[in-house]
Every structure is written in structure tokens, then in C-alpha cells.
């Protein structure tokens, strides 16, 4: 079959995204992809153009992975622009004279900056702000300037003002409308924004219409305004809106809108079904979408349509935005102007903090429709969730604005979830089902809730959420909620931690005798074992600790569904020599283990019988491996990218730091598992912002992020320290981890812990960085003790014949568990299902 020709006109952000979508769909098998790029370079990140002035290079801003187009045989004409589309002969012709036949065309021509027809607008020293060339020209000219003016106080105008300011110019912004950012922000918000921006040294004029630009020897000299005033300046940048690049479409007779824009339908087809248009050049239902996200959506829709007609559609887009302009937070979301019938507003203006926050509610005040946030947009994500999921608001919606901390706990907590939200994904149990079970049956403990609803009886990952739901329901019913660990201890984990430390308690039995009752259970025993380990760091399998450990800790391996275990040796920072890799491969082969690369840059060896564990570890320890603690509520892994050692973008040695961090905290036991990562630059390839503590290299040092989380409810880590040196970084991490270990509940990840921490990240900063509780010296000393007393648990275990006795399946026979059976799949073993086992056994 001969391939069809698909021509993409325009290689901006959206045109490139479209090509990526086609590649992802494997469409290069059916299509010859040909693209024309008018600019002298391939697609780059226009949204972050101002980064160019903050030291980013054109290469930094590039969106096209080097070699991507070549690999996929995409033909690109750089610096060439399509001049003509001949729809009869189905050919296009470029400015350089290239003629190509087409089967389909995608127009991704974008937009151009609108320059108002002001007298004198062409004088030397006037610029627009769209391409890297524009920036280079501005930057060169600005060297001889002292004053700069931006005409247009919209989103892009303010970005541009920031650029001028960064170049050291005295900067003015002139806006024709009565307020800044007229599309996103209302009058009151515009006023606060203006005050904030003026506070940063940028002069703002609104309601100001420029009538003439006066030049002196051909160079910009001053501006005259309709109100008779004037302003002297050395350069002017126009940022008065964008206009779609539809000239090509117009010439070939495609339908365009009255005020421009190529008319498209819901699959991005123009009036000629063989020509599609996407991004800022496209007009969908009389609207141009001037943001990148809707452009990307169109790119995906167009790609889907070409591969499988009408498999996806574009139905308009959410124009909610959150930005930092000149360092001021601005967010606008949903129905920000209260245009819905009956809409009501709650607004708070805080002249002291310089913030303005407005919520738009429906008529009854039960739902959030939209809002505007100026000066502090930290609530944006949560508020947007409330809008998008139509979550019923609390009785006093103004609290969402008054107490940012409370409000975020409101929306992050279980109470905010809709009844239809799935809590237990193993058994498909919704929040509604759990709540009614609690109410209808008067349930008061987590065991009964699990029994009644099956929630939490699968993987158990939702148990903390179910517990929160139970607590919330009990609180609603006026029942006192105790934070007791379980029936054996009338204390929270935090209280037990301080009892153990203060009274120097070294064993579970001692604690039970002094502060508990009964014999303990699977809740309190591992929790106490973890506290004892965090406090005293004794070997976890000493006889008086052995019975406390979950089976994973008890056998120093992760139990799998068939009762076999997985083995994960530590590979600090994910760095491993070929020889060590070979050892792992040989061990896996010799013991018939299934191998898989983990998400944390390690290698998991699965299917080990309990009696094989010591033999496997003997081999691994002999080769120099250590326990990876994948079985413990402990530090797991510190992921890293290759960093500045190899990567041409890296600014610091991220691998080296990751190894140092992993070795420092290896074996550290905590209320829950701990994950970390180190990225060598802001590209963040190690995904540090999804970790309990993540580190990202900067030109000047390291940024530390804390309390991120993948898992059941993903949450980004929050920045706690910027540009610190390695020593300071480690000190902060020491304090952070120990503070978490001291105060978190049992099985509470750092993200949930932070959400519940009154005062949130600001409070945490006070404690960790400013030592507001005067405990940092203690925290550091406790961590030093941990670091100094570390020992590899597997090394200790295989050296002790008595310990090894436990690693027999039977106490009275050397036979392995006869029920274990493996099947082969994709060239490796997997556990046999119950059915298969019965078949094999006959």
C-alpha cells in the first residue's frame, strides 16, 4: 500500500503536538508526514518565552526531542512557509518553490500579534512579542534603552513587562481597557493586580488610549494619549492581542470567520473535509482559543480523526488559567464573571496582604461555578476540582477563602469527595456505599466497616481513606472520635512515640505492660516495631521484635499473593555496574525467579520461596549487595537522572547526590514507606515532585520539595527550600524526616500528614528551616544516631544460623511448600492460579 501524504503547515507548539500524537498512534505507517516551519527553528515553548530573558537558550525552550522527526521519517522544511494551497490539484507550494501533493492538510499556522493602527507604529524601537527572533531583536535594542513601554495589559503583556523589567528597563504598561487582564479578571481584581504590580516597580496605566508614537530621528521617542497626556520612552512592545493566521485559508477559499479564524467543526475539519485546522488559527463556534491547552486538545482530536474518523471530538475548552505574572499569582477559572443566571458572588479583598479572592456560586450557594484569585492562588487546584466535579460546598463557602489551610483540608479530605467517588478500587466500593453502611448499621470501628462493605479488604491501600470516612461520619453523628491506635493502646502513634522515647522503652512487651492491655494485634505490633526501629534501630528480627513484624519485615522480603516473596537488592540512585547486573541476572536464573524493573530504578526478583531467601541473599551479599528494604515501611529508593555528568542539560550531579542521600537514609524506618528522587535540572526527569522528598538541581544549588505522593491520591510535593547547598539540604532532610517520624499517624504518608498539619507547608517551613519549635538539634541528633547504627539486615541474618531456621517452610521437614506451582508466561514464571493448581494436581 502506498502511503498517503499529510502536510502539516506550521511547526509551532500545536503543530508539533499534532505530529507527536500521530507518532504515538503509529500513524507513520500509513502517512508520509511533511511539515513546513516558517521560523528558522523547530517548535519551542512559546508559553515560557520570558524564560529566554531569565537565561534560557533557544535549545532549552525547544519542544522537539533531537532526532525525533528523523526517527519517524517526518520531513521538515525549516525556514520555509507554504504560500499556496491548490485544492483542485491537491498540491501545496512553498515560498522556496517546493510543491507537494497532499491527501490531507493540517493548518497549524497559529496567530500573529495584533498591532493597533496607531500613527508612528513603525518607528525603530517598536516590537512585538511572539518569536525568539522578536526577543533577540528586543534584547539587542534594549541595550541602549532606559525606558520601555508595553502596550496591552493582558496576560502576554504582563509577561512582556516582566521581560523588560528583567532587562533593567524602567517599565510601563499601557492598557486601553479599564483594568489589567480584562479577559480573565474583574474590576476589583484588576485593581489589586495593578497595585501589586506597581509595588514591584512597574508603572501601570489603564483606560489609556495611545493616539500617536512620536519619533526622533526615526527612533521611538514618546507616546501621546487620547487624554492629552504623554510618556517618554525608548522602546515600545505591542501586546494588544492576537489575530489568527488565516491568510492561506482565505486565499484558497476556505470559510473564515467575520473577524478572522478558519472555521472548523468538532473534528477540526475546515469547510474542505481534506483540510483541517488546529490551534490559534482555528475558529470553533465563533471562538478562537488562545491558550495552548485547547490547542493541544485540538491536535489530539485531529490526529484521532485522521486515524479513525469521528473517534474523538472537540467541544470547546475550559479557559481556566493560573499564572505567576511578575511574581504575582493570578488565577481565573470557570464562570469567573458570574455570567450564569442567578449566580452570586463572595469576594474578599485583603489590602494588607494584597490579595483578592472571589468565588462565583450558583443561585442557591451550593455549588461553585468559578472564581478569580489574585495575589495568592494556592487554592486554585482545589477550587477548580470543586467546579469540575460539581462538589457540594460546605455550609459556609466563604471559609474556602478565609482560611486557606482549612479550605484545602476541606477539599483534599474525604468529605469533599462526591458519593460516587470510588474509594476501594479492588472491590469497587464507593464513598456513598461506605457512608450509608456506617450510618445504617451504626458502625464504629474500621473492622466492621471492612466486613460490611468489603472496602479495604483487597490491597488495603484505601484503608486510611476508609478510616477517615469513618471518623468523619462518627464526628457528624456526634460520636467522640478517638485517635487510639487500636483496642490495646489508648494512645495515638504520636503519643506512643513520645512515650517510647521519654521512658526509653525498648520492647513491645514493656510498652504493653506499662501503657496498654491485652496481647496486641496486627495493627499495634508493626506500628510499635516501627517506632522502636525509628528510635533505637535494633535489628528487627531479634526474638523480642520478631513477632511484631508484618510478614514482609519478618522475612525481610515482600510477600506475594501465592505466599512466595520478592527480593529487591539496593541499587543506590539506580546506578549499577554491568558486573553487578550480571550477578542479579545469574541469581534470578539460578533460582528460577521472575524479574521486573521497578518504578524506583531497581530490579525485583519474584517468586522466591521462603527457604530460598537466605540462599539468594548469600549470593547477593557475597557480591556486595545490601537489603533494599523494599519490604519495610522504610526509605525505599532515591531515583535519579544521569545529571550533569552525562546529560547536556544537567546542571548538577544528581546521580551522585541520589546515591549519597540513599546511603544516608537506607534502612530508616518510618510510619510509612518513603520515596525520594533527585533531578539534575528543571526538566525533572527523575520525577522528584511526586516523592516524599524530592530534590531538583538549580544553577545555584538544590531545591527541596516535600510531601509529594503518587499512589491512591496523587499530590505534588511542595517547595520548602530553594538554592541550598548540599550540606544545608541534608540538614533540612534530616529534620524533615525525623519530624515526620515523630508526628505522623500509623501508615500515614507524608502527603496526608502535611494535609492534616495545621498551618500546612508554611508551618512546616517554620519548624524545619526556622526551628520555631527549637527541636532541630534533637531531630538532627536522632538522625545521626540512625545513620551511625545502620546495618544491612540481610547481612546480619545470614550470619546467624539460628535466625535461618525460621526460613524453612515447615518446622519439621526440609520440603518446600508443596502447593507452590508456577506457569510460564512470556518466557518467565508466574504463580499458577487455583484452577491451574488443581488441574496440575489432578
Amino acid at each position: 500500500m502506498t502511503k498517503k501524504n499529510l502536510i502539516v503547515i506550521g511547526n509551532g507548539m500545536v503543530g508539533h503536538k499534532f505530529l507527536e500524537c500521530m507518532i504515538a498512534k503509529g500513524a507513520t505507517d500509513d502517512w508520509n508526514l511533511i511539515t513546513f516551519c516558517e521560523e528558522p527553528r523547530v517548535a519551542y515553548d512559546r508559553v515560557n518565552l520570558s524564560g529566554f530573558f531569565a537565561g534560557k537558550t533557544a535549545a532549552d525552550l525547544s519542544l522537539v526531542e533531537p532526532g525525533l522527526y528523523q526517527t519517524h521519517n517526518i520531513q521538515i522544511y525549516i525556514g520555509d512557509k507554504v504560500d499556496r494551497i491548490d485544492r483542485t490539484s491537491k498540491t501545496i507550494t512553498s515560498a522556496n518553490g517546493v510543491t507537494v501533493n497532499y491527501d490531507k492538510v493540517v493548518l497549524a499556522t497559529g496567530s500573529y500579534p495584533f498591532v493597533p493602527p496607531i500613527k508612528g507604529k513603525d518607528a525603530a524601537g517598536t516590537f512585538v512579542y511572539r518569536t525568539i527572533e522578536d526577543l533577540e531583536a528586543m534584547s539587542a535594542y534594549a541595550k541602549s534603552c532606559k525606558v520601555g513601554v508595553v502596550i496591552g495589559g493582558g496576560l502576554l503583556g504582563l509577561e512582556c513587562a516582566n521581560a523588560l523589567k528583567n532587562m533593567g528597563l524602567k517599565t510601563h504598561v499601557v492598557e486601553f481597557a479599564p483594568r489589567l487582564m480584562p479577559v480573565q479578571v474583574d474590576d476589583a481584581g484588576g485593581k489589586v493586580l495593578k497595585e501589586q504590580i506597581e509595588g514591584l516597580g512597574v508603572r501601570v496605566y489603564v483606560n489609556k488610549s495611545t493616539t500617536e508614537i512620536v519619533n526622533k530621528n526615526g527612533n521611538v521617542h514618546k507616546m501621546l494619549f487620547a487624554d492629552g497626556s504623554e510618556l517618554q520612552t525608548d522602546m515600545i512592545v505591542f501586546s494588544a492581542g492576537i489575530r489568527p493566521r488565516d491568510e492561506l485559508a482565505k486565499v484558497c477559499g476556505l470559510q473564515v470567520g467575520e473577524r478572522g479564524g478558519i472555521v472548523v467543526n468538532e473534528v477540526c475539519q475546515t469547510s474542505d473535509p481534506d483540510i483541517l485546522a488546529i490551534g490559534e488559527c482555528a475558529l470553533y463556534r465563533d471562538r478562537i482559543y488562545g491558550l495552548v491547552a485547547p490547542g493541544y486538545t485540538m491536535a489530539a482530536v485531529a490526529a484521532d480523526h485522521l486515524c479513525l474518523p469521528h473517534s474523538n471530538s472537540f467541544n470547546g475548552a475550559d479557559m481556566s488559567t493560573k499564572l505567576k505574572l511578575l511574581g504575582v499569582d493570578v488565577a481565573s477559572f470557570g464562570d469567573a464573571f458570574g455570567r450564569t443566571e442567578g449566580a452570586k458572588e463572595i469576594a474578599i479583598k485583603d489590602a494588607i496582604k494584597g490579595t483578592y479572592k472571589k468565588l462565583v456560586l450558583n443561585e442557591s450557594g451550593s455549588l461553585l461555578l468559578g472564581g478569580i484569585l489574585i495575589g495568592d492562588a494556592s487554592a486554585y487546584g482545589n477550587l477548580l476540582q470543586l467546579v469540575q466535579n460539581a462538589i457540594a460546598l460546605p455550609p459556609h463557602p466563604e471559609d474556602l477563602l478565609m482560611l486557606p489551610r482549612e479550605s484545602s483540608s476541606f477539599s483534599m479530605g474525604v468529605e469533599s469527595l462526591p458519593d460516587t467517588a470510588q474509594i476501594c478500587s479492588c472491590n469497587n466500593v464507593t464513598k456513598g456505599q461506605i457512608c450509608s453502611a456506617i450510618q445504617d448499621n451504626g458502625l464504629t470501628d474500621i473492622g466492621s466497616v471492612k466486613k460490611c462493605t468489603q472496602a479495604g479488604t483487597g490491597c488495603g491501600g484505601c484503608v486510611p481513606l476508609v478510616t477517615d470516612l469513618l471518623k468523619a461520619e462518627l464526628k457528624k453523628a456526634g460520636i467522640e472520635v478517638k485517635n487510639d491506635l487500636c483496642e490495646h493502646f489508648a494512645y495515638s502513634r504520636q503519643e506512643l512515640y513520645s512515650l517510647i522515647r521519654t521512658h526509653q522503652i525498648k520492647t513491645f512487651d514493656e510498652l504493653l505492660e506499662r501503657h496498654g492491655k491485652g496481647r496486641g494485634c496486627e495493627i499495634c505490633k508493626p506500628a510499635v516495631a516501627s517506632i522502636l526501629a525509628s528510635a533505637w534501630n535494633d535489628y528487627v528480627l531479634t526474638p523480642f521484635h520478631a513477632g511484631l513484624q508484618d510478614t514482609n519485615d519478618a522475612f525481610l522480603a515482600n510477600i506475594q499473593k501465592d505466599g512466595t516473596y520478592s527480593v529487591i537488592p539496593r541499587i543506590p540512585g539506580g546506578e549499577i555496574t554491568p558486573d553487578m547486573l550480571i550477578v542479579i541476572g545469574e541469581v534470578a536464573r539460578d533460582f528460577g525467579l521472575y524479574t521486573k524493573i521497578t518504578g524506583g530504578q531497581r530490579i525485583d526478583l519474584l517468586g522466591a520461596r521462603v527457604d530460598q531467601l537466605p540462599l539468594i541473599w548469600q549470593r547477593l551479599v557475597d557480591a556486595g549487595f545490601e537489603s533494599g528494604h523494599a519490604y519495610g515501611k522504610a526509605l525505599r529508593t532515591v531515583k535519579s537522572c544521569v545529571g550533569s555528568t552525562w546529560c547536556r542539560f544537567g546542571v548538577q550531579d544528581s546521580t551522585g547526590l541520589a546515591i549519597a542521600v540513599e546511603l544516608r537514609y537506607r534502612g530508616l524506618r518510618a510510619p510509612h514507606k518513603l520515596k525520594s528522587a533527585v533531578s539534575g535540572c528543571t526538566r525533572e526527569c527523575a520525577e522528584a515532585q511526586s516523592k516524599d522528598f524530592g530534590i531538583i538541581a538549580t544553577e545555584n544549588g538544590w531545591n527541596l520539595y516535600v510531601c509529594g505522593n503518587g499512589g491512591i491520591r496523587p499530590q505534588h510535593a511542595q517547595l520548602i527550600a530553594e538554592d541550598v547547598d548540599q550540606e544545608t539540604l541534608i540538614r533540612y532532610i534530616d529534620r524533615f524526616l525525623m519530624f515526620y517520624i515523630r508526628t505522623a499517624n500509623r501508615l500515614e504518608r507524608t502527603a496526608t500528614w502535611l494535609n492534616k498539619l495545621e498551618g500546612g507547608i508554611e508551618y512546616l517551613k517554620q519548624v524545619i528551616i526556622n526551628d520555631s519549635l527549637s527541636i532541630c538539634a534533637e531531630l538532627e541528633a536522632e538522625m545521626e544516631y540512625q545513620v551511625a547504627t545502620y546495618a544491612c539486615e540481610w547481612k546480619t541474618t545470614i550470619a546467624d544460623p539460628e535466625k535461618l531456621q525460621r526460613f524453612n517452610h515447615f518446622v519439621n521437614s526440609d520440603a518446600p511448600d508443596p502447593s507452590l506451582m508456577h506457569m510460564e508466561e512470556r518466557g518467565q514464571v508466574r504463580p499458577a492460579s487455583e484452577q491451574e493448581r488443581q488441574l496440575i494436581q489432578g
Binding site: 473492622g447 496481647r519 513477632g547 510478614t551 519478618a554 501465592d562 525460621r806 518446622v811 520440603a815
Partner: protein, 117 residues
């Protein structure tokens, strides 16, 4: 030491291991006539139930954490954490499920499992 079953029907007591082999408040698994039996040492008492966990369909109960619920001795499955009554074999979390219970005793420091006639 308590004997958890009447002795009349026991044909034979099979010695499994010395009591000292079982770390206090943990369990072991014994092979008793082709059956896997989980034996637990809880405080001064000793209990035996089937090692098969009906929820995970794996032979793992001996590796669970022992303790008590309102004074009743129990073990939690190491796989999905269901709790089983060590005296009756009943599952606390699902009354339709029960695992077998075996007679067990300690004689002269040796743990013995009774084999019924």
C-alpha cells in the same frame, strides 16, 4: 498447657518440634500427614489451625501476626489481613468462613499435634 481438643478421638500425637523452636508470639508451619498446620505460641498458650488462607488461597497463616481481639486469641492473615479466631478457626471478618482447628499440646517441652482416628 491447655489441650484444645478432647483426647478421646486422638489416635496419635505427632511430635513436631521443641517448643523453643517457636519464638514467643509467633507461628510456625508443620507438615502433619500431608496437611499443612499452622502452630502458634501466644503467651503461655499454644494453638493449631490450618495453614491455608481461604482468602488468598495460599498456605501462609503461620506467618501472620498473632494477638487478641477482646481477649480472644487470633491471627491476621499476612496477605489480606483477615483475622481468624485461634480457638475456633472462625474468621472475624466473614462469619461464613472458618478454617480447620487441630488438637495440639506441649509434652516434655515438645509440641505435638493430635491426629484423629
Amino acid at each position: 498447657m491447655q489441650i484444645t481438643s478432647t483426647t478421646e478421638t486422638i489416635a496419635q500425637w505427632l511430635t513436631v518440634c521443641p517448643l523453643s523452636r517457636i519464638i514467643p508470639n509467633t507461628g510456625v508451619c508443620a507438615l502433619v500427614e500431608d496437611q499443612q498446620v499452622a502452630i502458634f505460641r501466644v503467651g503461655e498458650e499454644i494453638y493449631a489451625i490450618a495453614n491455608y488462607d481461604p482468602f488468598s488461597q495460599a498456605y501462609v497463616l503461620s506467618r501472620g501476626i498473632v494477638g487478641d481481639r477482646q481477649g480472644v486469641p487470633k491471627v491476621a492473615s499476612p496477605i489480606y489481613k483477615q483475622n481468624f479466631n485461634l480457638i475456633t478457626g472462625e474468621c472475624f471478618d466473614d462469619e461464613t468462613v472458618r478454617v480447620a482447628v487441630f488438637p495440639v499440646r506441649v509434652m516434655y517441652g515438645q509440641v505435638q499435634v493430635g491426629i484423629e482416628a
